[in-house]
Symmetry: C2
Subunit: 185 residues, 2 copies
Amino acid sequence: MEIIDVIHQRASLKTCLSPREVEAEKITKILEAARVAPSARNFQPWRFIVVNNKKLLETLVKNAFSDVNHVAQNAPVIIFVCGNPGEDVTIGGKEYYLFDLGLAVENMVLAATSLGLVTHIMAGFSEDLVKEQLGIPLQYRCVAAIPLAYPDCKTYEEAAQDRLKQRTRKDLKEIVYTNSWPKLA
Amino acid sequence: MEIIDVIHQRASLKTCLSPREVEAEKITKILEAARVAPSARNFQPWRFIVVNNKKLLETLVKNAFSDVNHVAQNAPVIIFVCGNPGEDVTIGGKEYYLFDLGLAVENMVLAATSLGLVTHIMAGFSEDLVKEQLGIPLQYRCVAAIPLAYPDCKTYEEAAQDRLKQRTRKDLKEIVYTNSWPKLA
């Protein structure tokens, strides 16, 4: 699929997760997409924990995820995205590991979309409980949890259709300026 | 181009920037790609300043960019990526506007790559000088500057070839774990 189409068709679809197994080679392709992302000075501050043990996944979701994200337990796989602030630059308080994790995660969700999988980037979970359960060292932060699944209907397009119809985004003119920030009247 | 190919062919190519004009419709496509990116609770904390005034662009690069990024002045366009920490969630000190800007910026550089343009995400500049010159309000942070240009050789592939040959990334086994962080021996 053309990349511009994938970018526009990607949607957050936590209500459409099928328990059907996702092939290991698809997961590898998604992780490879994250791996080649750019990062500040090529620091690559990211780590990914693939949780595919059903019991562990359910326990994590039940204990650590906020109620609105409990549907994540329908997915056969959740990838936890971690980063170490100390493995990247901080400039004027801006911790670039977060920016760089964003670059890598977008590659992941686009790759997943192109493979017919649904995703949903989640931040609504208890980081402490996730870190404890998965043995994540103190210096790493757990920034996102991404369920990966086949759609629970025929195709990705069918799963995304309603969601994309309801998509709301600011107009370009609200977020894009040319040659200077607009002066206040 | 297939998205997985674009993800793998994207490279940071600041040494290959042609001064050739980039069509406005290509820039719009790139900004539309950023616009539809996901963000925490759909907060869309991003703003983009398109600098295409040649004199302004050169002044900015000369005065505010670090020496290694002075080549950016060869580009006909630089997009400055800004975000407001207060327009997004902060969880346990993790400022998600940075993560969300990363999601949007990866869409931009992938879209640009698929349009045959070269990019380079830069953080090496004086934020204070850029903010002053572009009139960016106090509460917004300027997180990245992205020159956009045609390659200064025949094709994107030709420009990226050497760079991709030299690409270094951690192995998947260094960054991916299954069901738990590896125990120390």
